[in-house]
Each structure stands twice: as structure tokens, then as C-alpha cells.
Symmetry: C2
């Protein structure tokens, strides 16, 4: 086993080393003119300040949770939780840092070379730092947990992989609790990063648009708009740091869920009499880690292939190629790992229907499903296809029909991804059981380093465009960054489809582990929705994502309104701003966004963390199981609706701006209607949707850790005991 | 037993007799001036024409379904299906007919008496015809099914209440299939009435508003607007006929589900060894019918109490009083029925925890839950409370924030009703088992005659206002009808909360019967969502209501756009219309709405009917069970969101129009933003929300009828059999 873990350690270090190389390669590039330098520095200072504040809040939360875990579960769980928190915050922090270095250098590359290929390379090199850090940090943390708390403390020994009573008399399986703790650490950071970043970015964006575009009628990123720097800071804290922690969390959640599931499957195998050898159990636990390691190595090659190419004229094609190459190599590397781990050992008890290749087929189904779901998101949100074009045409009939049609588009777009998820789950299950479903989640996320790199390149290019505009660079520079940005919009939509698809599968895998935690292994695993407690949980759980989303939207619009007031105040008090003779006060706007986001993020974040715990202590594990399934189903739908409606409104507006509808270009009534659609879509696609991805996973992870306690102590059991 | 059924027969005939009395009392009132007569006649002719077309489509659908039922299940089931279809279409037709007589007479009463009390009485008397017909027709049909197919054909004999093979070798329980068939008949009519009416009314309304209010800036119901008569026709076919069939279907669904459940509970009781006497089984089957009969008699008294009062100055209070009186008398009457049926007989095997009163407590929980859910809807949608006021204030910040805030309000409003449903389900279950949950649904709907009367009075008053405006009556007349209409808006919101709450419980009760239909009675009832087939079903089922809603919204906006084109065409070709020198062509607009609704209603209606059947033949009963629970959860949320967001936008706009926000009254930018919000909300609250109520019930009812066939024949079983 140690030898096998060294492969994963090697992969994570390789990924991090390549990330470091790309970091310094980007950083040593020139920043360009003094004005560019100044603007970039303002963005960087703003982003750093926000992250510093946010991490202070997080530090307190993490310490409290760690103390609770140490007290109620075990100190090892608390330590693993801390490792998770450190890894997740490190990845987010490094990724955001390089993004704030890369943005200005991308603008400068465009200025100096006036070529799309070389500019794309700088942007993608910057993005790859985030992607590689996500893969590298997540895997490094996992390897540490396995090495220190698994091998080192003997927790991977057969006798440690069964239930033990801790000092409070609570049943815990030592090592699976360590894995859950690690996943929880990543989840908590991701939750705050996503919500905080999501509120920040959209408050600034909406605030800038509502006054700038709609009232003062000045273009996007115009330096006369006081909120424009805050808007650019938002891209970095929301779309970069938030997205990175989000996918890191999905990645870790999927891997841990599959490993934990292996332990529970061994109980079931023993209870059913089929039995499972210790070797097989260890291999099943290691397989998701090694599969992901193979994926990370594949991504390094995929990213390298793009960065080492001489000519690069079609950015969309080049990025797709890098992603598909990474995915293809992952399947090959995964095949090697599969044969290495499962070749020639006794597979009985694992429930594999297709022999040694079964778990690999499960992962493959996940990869295929991910690619399909991404393609569907592209179909609904790209102006190259009918739905978005129809939406753009609805703008000719006014604002109301633009909104109505966008909502209808988002609603209708839920079915196709759900069909794919449904079919994927059924096939993965019939090939390799519940383990196959968990491996589908791992598979979908295994080349996360590539997808995050592509996703991060988008906001970096967007920022570069902003800097170009604010420093009044040549129009050609802006043309290049705009092309890159618009490609980034499509890749972002695909990435969102991917994030919710993988999030849903990861949440389901975590839920299965959760159910195993309190179900008797000798009986069939149950999540019986006709049990009234579970059914009530499912209905209430179904309402939770709606409550959470409503709170997020209100948080964004509250912060955005403050921004609107401030921008209006500046325009009123300093009329010189609009004619360019006075400089606006960017700093106050940045502070408003920061304060707004920090103030508003707490309630929704605590809701996500505390609901499963409170519900568990009130009505026990079945109630929480109901909540988990209800909220997972609702979240999948709401996240798809939000992402696709928002994406379509955005690209519909761009379609009109491009002049594609004759007689209704920029400045027309149709354009005004489309701008309203885009503004409505903003908090949906960039705050609600992404936060829901985490919402379902953090609830499952919290439940998985807390179930040991509330399975033993809850109000319902007390009442029922008293009644008898 | 026959004697007990006579009570129900008496109640239904009493209700229908009182409905007939009110019908003719209203009809013999004077219609007013020639102009009023002419306009009313145009509305009546338009409404009748639409219903005639719609019923032609329905006739074909009903014949086909009846033939299929006769062939695959039994001819008795087909007959009961036809009885259901006749009762439901009769109730919708009579209610709509009286509404088109009452509207002009309400306007005339206001004109002659200039008093709110006497005007209210005419409107409520008209509305009560619909309410009493819903209760009376539904109950009459049930009694016929019980008398003819139960007692008459001996299907209520113990030997008929177990599974028999029909000529195709399919297992059916003869009498429960009759009940399911009856419920299905009501469902199919309700589905088409709701969808057709919902598309018609909102296409006309949106079309009228989009050009009239937004472009030509003429007030609502202005006779210069060519779409204005179509808009008034829409109120009758959508808000009257559609609503009536909808609640009739919920009512029948809840009663049948409880009766069918009783049969399955007897199997479980026998399998568990507890046993159940034939007397108890018969009483459990009759109880929901008699409880509803008590409710109908209570409603007759409640309605009478309002209509016989001398002075009536506060319409809101008077209507609430009538409803609460009906609900209160229902609980008393229900208590008498409970003691009559269950007093002194052997209750073992029924799973009652609180003795003879157990099922009554279950029903009481339903009544209480219904009232709470209605109050929550009022809280979120009335301008007397914070949420709607905040929404109105958001309009000051422009259109985008109006939409965003409305969505957030709708999303947040999902939690409270779901908490009540959850708690209600748990308590009802612990008091009287699954039968208690089914009785909660019956309880919530038992005073449906009163709630539908109150709900129907709203559109009648709305129409009266339209007629007053178009016939240029005195401003005071319009003031009276406006007051009645605004009360109607609040009662409509409460009614919507009620409809979705009761619909959800009825759907769950039907689902329980569905699960019993294929589960082995000797094992615990299961809806195991961790089974991959069921889980896939739940995810796909969760997406279905979103697909369905998206289709409905697009159907409405497609029809509305055609209306917009026509109104614009008339304004362009006949410029005299706007200055009042030319008469617009109302008829073409009515035809456009009719054709649009008839054309667009088919696809969503067939989706609802065919999906459970197709899914069942593909992947068997567990898959359909997953679809049912997934779509029920999603539908509850979407329906609450739609109803409350739409209601709040509507009343937020009215709040602004009332001048409550200083400096931002009618004609201001804030008002324009609020009008967009209202237009976006229209198809949500009046098409999507109401149609979803039926969507979940019709899917459960179809599944309940079809499961006998697809449990035996489905593709999955074939494949699994081949693989072995």
C-alpha cells in the first residue's frame, strides 16, 4: 500500500510543481504601462483585502468546528478537518493571487503582440495555476491523511476499519471519520469562498451595471464608473477563488465518498456471507485516490500540450482539445490503475458485474456524463443554437417577455441533464453497484485540473479586458481580450453544467455513505420516503435550496443597492467624473462590496452547516436522510435553471450587441430589455447556481460527520422512548 | 351501508339543489343598460364557444381513454371513468355559465344600489353555484359509483375486495379500480380545463397589457383595446371553469385515495396477523365520503349565512366568516360522522393510536394545515405585510431589481408551507397511520364548496369591473367592483395556497395507494430512493415539473405574441380605434386566444398523462414511484414559488397604483417596473402554479390505474429475465 500511495504523492507534487513553474513564468512577465500597473495594483489590493477579511472569519469558524469535532468525535478527525481547510484555502488563495498577476500581463501581451495565440497562452498559463493547485492540493491533503492517519496510526488495519466507541460512547469508524473530516474541512472553506465571493462579485457587477449602463449609459468597464474596479475585484474573488474551492470540494467529496463506501461495502459483504478480503478492501479504498492521481498526471500533459504549441489561432478549439486530451489520457491512465489494483486479486464481495474492469466502467460513465452535461449547457446558453437566439428575439417584444422566455428556457433545460444523470446512475449501478455510482462521480471530476484551468482563464481574460479599457489601450487589444472573454463565457457555462453534474453525483455518493453509517449492514440499505419522518424531511429538504437561493438573491441585491446609492452619490457630488475631469473614488465601492459580502454571507452559510445538525438532533437520522434527498433534487433543478437561464440571458444580450438582429443593435429598446434580462440572470448564474453546488455537498458532509452523534442522541427517540 | 350512503346522496342533492336555486336567482336579475347587455353577451358567446371547442377535444380524449380502460382493465372501470369525466365537465360548465350571467348583473347591482353589500351578495351568489356544483357533482358521482358498482354489482363484498385476474391475466381489485377510474375521469377533464383555460386567460391578459398598457398607455379594460373582451372571457374559462375542475379533482382524488388505502390497509392487517373485520373495512372506505358529505352540508349553511345577512359592509370579513363557519361546522359534522361510523366497533388492524377519534384528528390536522398555508400565502402576497411592500419599494430601483426581488420572495416563501405539510404528515401518521395522512387531505378539502365559492366570486367581480369600464358606467360603480376585486385577489392567493397544499397531500395519498398496488402486503411498504432505478426516477421526476412549466410559459407567451401582433395590427390599420371613433374588432382577438389555447394545451396535457405510462412500461413500477415522488416535491416548490411571486408582483403593482409610495404613483418609472413584474408573474401565478396542482395528481392517478398492467409487463423485467 505505501508504494501505491507514493504514486499519488508523486502526482500531487508534480501538479504543484508545474503550478509553481507556471506561477513564476507568468509573474516575471512585464505589466505594461504605468496606468495598467496602477489599475492592476488596485484590483490586487482590493482582492487581497477581501480574502484577508474573509479568511479571518473563516479562521474563527474553522477553529470552532475543529474543537467540536475533537470533543465529540476524535482529535484525528479534527486534525484531518484542519488539513482540509488548509488545502482548500491555500488553493483558493494561490489561484486568486496568480489571477491578479495574470490579468494585467494578459492585457500587456495583447498590447505587445497583438496576437490572439500568445495572449491566450498567458491567460491559460495563469488559469492553469488554479487548476493544478486544485488537483495538487486536494490530492496532497488526501495522501497526507492516508499516510499520517491511515498507515502511520494504523487506522488502515482491518481492526480499525470497524466501529469503535469513542470516549462519549459514540460509535465511530476511526479512518472513515478522518476522511469525512478532511472532506468537511474542504467543504466549509468552499462554502464561505463561494458565498462570499458570489455575493461580492454580483453586488459589484449589478451595482456597476444598474447605474453605469442603465442610468448614465456609459459602457462596461468604463473608468468613469466608480464601481468598475470593485467589479474586476469580484471576478477574482468570485469566479476564481470561489470556483476553485468549489471544485476542489467536489473532487475531495467524490474521492472520500467512494473510499468510505468501500468500508461499508465490506460490512455488507461480510454480513451477507460473501465476505471481502482485506486486500480488496484496501484496494477499493485506494482506487479513487489513484484514479484521480492518474487524472492529475493526464491534466499536466494536457495543459502542457496547449502551452507548448507554437501557433494557436482558434482559442475555443485549443481549449477543448486540451480538455479532451486530459479526459482521454485519464481514461487510459485510469485503466492502468485499474489493472494494477484489481488484476489477479479475489474480487468477490465487491458486487462487480463486469469483472476487473467494472469500477473503471463506472468512472468512464461519469466522464461521459460530464461531457454530455457540459454540451447540453452549451446548447442552451450559446448564441450559436436556437434557445438563446429565440431568447434574443423575444427581447424585441419587450422586457416582460424577455424575462418570461428566459425562465422558460431555464426550466426546460433541466430535463436533459437529469436524464443523463438518471441513465448514468442506473448503468453504473448495474455494472459495479453503489461503488460504481461513487466512481462515476470520481470519474467526472478526475480531470478537474484541466476543467478548472479552462474555467479560470475566462475571468482572467475578462479582467484583462477591463484593464485594457480602463487604461485606454488600443481598440485592437480590447478586441483580442473580448474574443477570449466570449470563449470564456461558453466554457464557463460548460463548467457550470459540469459542476452541478459532478456535485449531484458527489452528493449522492456522500449520501450513500451517510445512509450506511446508521443502517444495519445485514439489512438492505434503505432511504424509505414513505416513512413519514423521511417524507416530511424530503418535503422540507426540497424547500431548503429555495430558501437558501432566495436569501442569496436578497443578499446580492441588498449589497448591490448600497453600491447603486454610492455610485449615484459620487455622480451627483462630483459631476466632473462623468466628463472625465475628476477621478472617481474606487476605494469606497470596493469597501461596500467587501462589507456587504462579509455581512451577508454568514446567514446562508450557517444555514447550510447547521440545518442537518439541528434536524438530526431533533428528529434523528431518517429525517436528515429525507432532507438530504429532497434538497439534492431541488438543488439540481434550481442550479441548472439558474445557470442556463443566466447564461442564455447574458449571451442573448451579447447576440443583440453583436448586431445579429437587424435594426435592433446596441442602444435599441430590444437591447435595453436584454440588459434587464442579463442583470436578472447575474445573481442566478453566478451566485445562486454555484452556491447550490456546494450547498448539497456540505449538507451531506456535515450529516456524514454528525450522524454518529445524533443517531445516538435525538429528541424523537427520547419522546418515543417516553411514550412506550 | 346503503343507509349511510343515502346521507351522502342527500348531501350531494342538497348542494346541487341550492346551486340550482342560486343559479336561477341570479339569472332572473336584470342585466342593465343595452350596452352592458351587449358586452356581457359578447363575453358569454366567447366563453361558450371556447368551452365547446375544448369539450370537443376532450370528448375524443375521453373516448380513447375509456376504450383503453375497458380493454386493459375492466368495463366497470371505464364506466366509472366516464362518470368522473361527466361530473367534472358538468361542474366546470355550469360554473362558467353562471359566471357569465353573474358578471353583468353584479355590475348592474352596483349601478342600481351603489352599495357594496348588495353587490357582494350577487357576486357571491354567482360564485356559490360553482362551489356547490364542485362539492355536489363530485359527491353525486362518488355515490353513484358506490351504489351502482359497489353495492349493485356486489363489488363491496369481501371477496371482491381482493385481487382478481382479468381476461388479460392482469391482477386488479375490482372496486378500487372503479374508484381510481372515477378519479381519473375527473383528473383528465381538470387537466385540459386548467391548461386550456390557463393558457387562454393569460395569453389574452398579457396580450392586452403588453400593447394596451405598455405601448398605447390606455388603462386596463379600456373598450378601445381590441383584446379586452378576450381578457374577460379568459377570466371565465380559466379562473372559473379551470379552478372548479381543479378543486373537484383534488377533492375526488383525496376521497378515493383514502378509500382505496383502506382496502390495502386491510391486506396489511391480515398479513401481519392483526386482522380487520369486514365492518371496519367498509366503514374505513365510507368514512372519507361521509366526512365530505358533512362538509358539503356545512358549506351550504356557511354560504346561506352570508347570503341571508341583511347588512354586509366589510366584504373581506364576511367572506372569511363564511369560510371559517363552514370549516367549523365541518369539524363538528365530521365528529358526528366519526362517532356514527367507528363508535362501538372493533378497531383493531386500523393502526389508530387515539381510539375512535383518530381519523377525525387526522382530518382536523388537514383543516388546520389548510388554513395555515392559506394564511402564509396571504402574508407573502398581500400589500398589508412586509414582503409585498418591500417588493413594491424595490420597483423604485428599476425593473431588474423588481424581478430579482420577486423571485427571491417566491423562493423564500416555499419553506413555511412545507414545514406545515411536514409536521402535519408526521402528526397525522403517528395518530392514525397512513390512513390519517390520507384523511388530512380529505379534511383540507372537505369544505371545498365554501373555498371555491369565495374563489369564484373574485373573477366574477373582476369581470363586472370590466363590463362597468367598457359600458362607461359611473366611477362609483367601478369603485365598488374594484374593492370587491381587490378582496378577490387576496382570497385568490389564499385559495392558491390551499390548492397546492391539498393537492400535495392528495398526491401523496394517491402515491401511497400506488405503492400498495405492487408491493407485497406482508412486507413493510417501501419507496426506497437508494434503489438506483427509483433514484433515477426521482431525479428525472424532479425535472418534469420544470419541463412542464417551461412548456406552459412558452405556450402562453407564444399565444400572447400572436395577440400582440393582432392588437398592433388593428391600431395601425384603424387609427380611429384609439381616439374612440372606430370600434375595434374584438372577435378576432377572441379567436386568437381560443385557437392558441387549444393548440398549445395538447402537448403539456399529453406529457402529464403519458409519462407515467411510458415510464412504467420502460422501467417498471419502482421507476414510476421515483418519478412520482420527485415530481411531487418539485411541483410543490414551483407551485408555491409561482403563486406567491406572481401574487406579490400583482399586489405590489396595485400598492404603487394606490399611491402608497409618495412621488411614485401611476405612470412613474417605478410603476412601469412594477407592471413588468406583474406581467412576468401572470403566467406563473395563473397558468404554471394551478396547472402544477393537477400535474402531480394526474400523474399519480394515471400510475395508480396503469400499474396493474406495467407491473406485469415492462421492458426492464424482460431484459433482466433475458440476462439471467
Amino acid at each position: 500500500m505505501p508504494a501505491l500511495l507514493l504514486i499519488a504523492l508523486f502526482a500531487s507534487l508534480l501538479g504543484l510543481a508545474y503550478a509553481a513553474f507556471n506561477f513564476f513564468s507568468v509573474k516575471k512577465l512585464d505589466e505594461g504601462t504605468d496606468q495598467m500597473r496602477e489599475i492592476a495594483s488596485a484590483i490586487r489590493v482590493g482582492a487581497n483585502a477581501f480574502i484577508r477579511y474573509e479568511y479571518k472569519v473563516l479562521f474563527a469558524v474553522v477553529l470552532v468546528v475543529a474543537a467540536v469535532l475533537a470533543l465529540l468525535v476524535s482529535w484525528q478527525t479534527a486534525c484531518c478537518f484542519l488539513i482540509g481547510a488548509v488545502m482548500s484555502s491555500a488553493a483558493g488563495w494561490i489561484g486568486m493571487r496568480i489571477a491578479t498577476y495574470a490579468n494585467v500581463r494578459v492585457a500587456n501581451a495583447a498590447r505587445l503582440t497583438v496576437r490572439i495565440g500568445s495572449t491566450l497562452k498567458v491567460a491559460f498559463r495563469g488559469g492553469s495555476v488554479m487548476g493544478l493547485c486544485v488537483g495538487g492540493c486536494a490530492l496532497l491533503g488526501l495522501v497526507l491523511v492516508y499516510l499520517i492517519f491511515g498507515l502511520g496510526m494504523g487506522l488502515l488495519q482491518p481492526e480499525s476499519l470497524v466501529s469503535h466507541k469513542n470516549w462519549l460512547g459514540i460509535d465511530v469508524i476511526p479512518f472513515t471519520m478522518c476522511l469525512s473530516g478532511y472532506a468537511l474541512g474542504c467543504s466549509v472553506i468552499a462554502m464561505f469562498n463561494r458565498i462570499g465571493g458570489g455575493i461580492y462579485t454580483k453586488a459589484a457587477d449589478m451595482g456597476a451595471d444598474l447605474v453605469g449602463k442603465t442610468e448614465a449609459r456609459i459602457p462596461e468597464d468604463d473608468p468613469r464608473n466608480p464601481a468598475t474596479i470593485a467589479d474586476n475585484v469580484g471576478d477574482n474573488v468570485g469566479d476564481v477563488a470561489g470556483l476553485g474551492s468549489d471544485l476542489l470540494e467536489s473532487y475531495v467529496g467524490a474521492i472520500s465518498a467512494a473510499s468510505i463506501l468501500a468500508v461499508h461495502l465490506s460490512f455488507t459483504a461480510h454480513a451477507s456471507g460473501a465476505g471481502m478480503t482485506d486486500t480488496l478492501l484496501n484496494r477499493l479504498m485506494l482506487y479513487p485516490v489513484l484514479f484521480s492521481a492518474a487524472g492529475l498526471i493526464a491534466c499536466v500533459i494536457g495543459i502542457l500540450s496547449l502551452l507548448s504549441r507554437k501557433t494557436l489561432e482558434n482559442p475555443h478549439k485549443a481549449l477543448n482539445l486540451a480538455t479532451y486530451l486530459s479526459a482521454g489520457l485519464t481514461t487510459l491512465g485510469g485503466l492502468a490503475v485499474t489493472l494494477l489494483l484489481f488484476g489477479g486479486i479475489d474480487l468477490s464481495g465487491a458486487g462487480f458485474q463486469a469483472g476487473v474492469l467494472s469500477p473503471w466502467i463506472g468512472a468512464l460513465i461519469g466522464i461521459a456524463a460530464g461531457i454530455f452535461i457540459g454540451a447540453i449547457a452549451e446548447f442552451y446558453t450559446s448564441a450559436e443554437f436556437r434557445p438563446t437566439r429565440d431568447l434574443a428575439e423575444a427581447s424585441l417584444e419587450g422586457t416582460a417577455l424577455t424575462i418570461t422566455q428566459g425562465l422558460a428556457l431555464g426550466m426546460k433545460s433541466c430535463m436533459a441533464p437529469c436524464l443523463i444523470l438518471g441513465v448514468g446512475i442506473i448503468v453504473a449501478y448495474y455494472v459495479s453497484g453503489l461503488y460504481g455510482v461513487a466512481m462515476a462521480a470520481v470519474g467526472m471530476l478526475s480531470f478537474v485540473a484541466a476543467t478548472v484551468s479552462v474555467d479560470t482563464y475566462g475571468p482572467i481574460s475578462d479582467n484583462a479586458g477591463g484593464i485594457a479599457e480602463m487604461s485606454k489601450l488600443d481598440g485592437k487589444v480590447r478586441e483580442i481580450t473580448d474574443t477570449l472573454d466570449s470563449v470564456g463565457n461558453t466554457t464557463a457555462a460548460i463548467g457550470k453544467g459540469f459542476a452541478i453534474g459532478s456535485g449531484a453525483l458527489a452528493a449522492l455518493a456522500l449520501m450513500v455513505s451517510y445512509l450506511f453509517s446508521y443502517n444495519d449492514p445485514s439489512t438492505p440499505l434503505l432511504l424509505n420516503l414513505i416513512d413519514p419522518i423521511t417524507l416530511a424531511g424530503a418535503i422540507i429538504g426540497g424547500a431548503l435550496p429555495f430558501l437558501f437561493s432566495g436569501m442569496l438573491i436578497q443578499a446580492v441585491s441588498k449589497a448591490a443597492r448600497k453600491m447603486v446609492d454610492e455610485v449615484r452619490r459620487q455622480f451627483r457630488l462630483f459631476p466632473g467624473i462623468l466628463d472625465g475631469t475628476q477621478k472617481p473614488d474606487y476605494k469606497t465601492c470596493i469597501e461596500i462590496s467587501s462589507k456587504g459580502a462579509l455581512g451577508e454571507m454568514k446567514l446562508p452559510a450557517f444555514l447550510a452547516i447547521l440545518v442537518p445538525v439541528a434536524a438530526g438532533f431533533l428528529l434523528g437520522p431518517e429525517f436528515v436522510a429525507g432532507i438530504l434527498i429532497g434538497s439534492t433534487i431541488s438543488s439540481i433543478m434550481l442550479a441548472i435553471l439558474s445557470g442556463n437561464a443566466g447564461g442564455a440571458w447574458d449571451n442573448g444580450k451579447k447576440h443583440i450587441e453583436s448586431g445579429a438582429i437587424e435594426g435592433h443593435g446596441k442602444g435599441s429598446d430590444a437591447h435595453a430589455a436584454a440588459v434587464v434580462g442579463d442583470t436578472v440572470g447575474d445573481p442566478l448564474k453566478d451566485t445562486v447556481g454555484p452556491c447550490l453546488d456546494i450547498f448539497i455537498k456540505i449538507m451531506s458532509t456535515v450529516a456524514l460527520v454528525a450522524v454518529a452523534v445524533f443517531d445516538k442522541y435525538n429528541l424523537l427517540d427520547c419522546i418515543l422512548a417516553l411514550l412506550q
